[in-house]
């Protein structure tokens, strides 16, 4: 495997796998926060007030970026598996990286 570390496909696969792990492990926390509404508006507002801190907004932007890179990386995998290979598919890695960076930045710009 080490011989492939200089290939962008290796890193695309690495990012796809570990972004998925982070997102899957984040889901319980996300659901717990949303469930606060069952305790009343005040409880949910308590979390939203905490989430207003700049460091939390930056972390949220990171999650938005991870979600986008996993989405576009997943689309790349589907295109490779279900369509015949075309050279244009190798550009999907750059599209995924650019899309993730752009969505994270866009989220930050709107959050602040």
């Amino acid at each position: 495997m080490k011989a492939n570390h200089d290939k962008k496909e290796y890193w695309a696969s690495f990012v796809q796998r570990w972004s998925g792990v982070v997102l899957a492990l984040f889901l319980p926390a996300h659901f717990i926060v949303l469930s606060q509404s069952l305790l009343g508006e005040q409880a949910l507002n308590g979390f939203l007030h905490w989430a207003d801190m700049p460091v939390v907004k930056i972390a949220e932007a990171g999650l938005v970026g991870l979600l986008t890179v996993h989405l576009l990386g997943g689309l790349r995998i589907l295109l490779i598996e279900f369509l015949s290979w075309g050279e244009w598919q190798s550009w999907m890695i750059i599209v995924a990286a650019g899309g993730a960076f752009s969505s994270g930045c866009l989220f930050l710009m709107r959050a602040f």
């Binding site: 319980p28 949303l34 509404s37 507002n45 939203l48």
Partner: protein
């Protein structure tokens, strides 16, 4: 038999991924639009309370994410730490059930 189970999981992973692709695009757009100027619990609940279409959308979203995430974590557990056999399958099913329950609980809090 093992191969047929692996193929079924692969297919479910891809189909749930396709469904999630659509849902995630809508979710990302909603987040980026809604985050402008901050959000309050009142604003969120005003949009979600009694909105059963939104409730159905997020219920299917939560279940698809639970299924997709559990199969993904199962694959990573197999390949990275070598966890195999019945205990690993049981852990994946439990994680999926937990995520489904937490997700539907959160949706009910926002919609009902």
């Amino acid at each position: 038999m093992k191969n047929s189970f692996a193929i079924k999981l692969w297919l479910v992973q891809r189909l749930s991924g396709m469904l999630l692709g659509l849902f995630v695009i809508i979710h990302l757009m909603t987040m980026i639009i809604a985050i402008q100027g901050g959000v309050t619990a009142g604003e969120i609940l005003e949009r979600t309370s009694g909105n059963f279409l939104l409730g159905a959308f997020y219920s299917v979203f939560a279940i698809a994410a639970a299924v997709h995430g559990s199969i993904g974590l199962r694959t990573v557990a197999q390949e990275v730490i070598g966890w195999r056999g019945r205990s690993m399958n049981l852990a994946a099913v439990c994680f999926c059930a937990l995520l489904c329950a937490m997700g539907l609980f959160a949706v009910s809090g926002l919609v009902l």
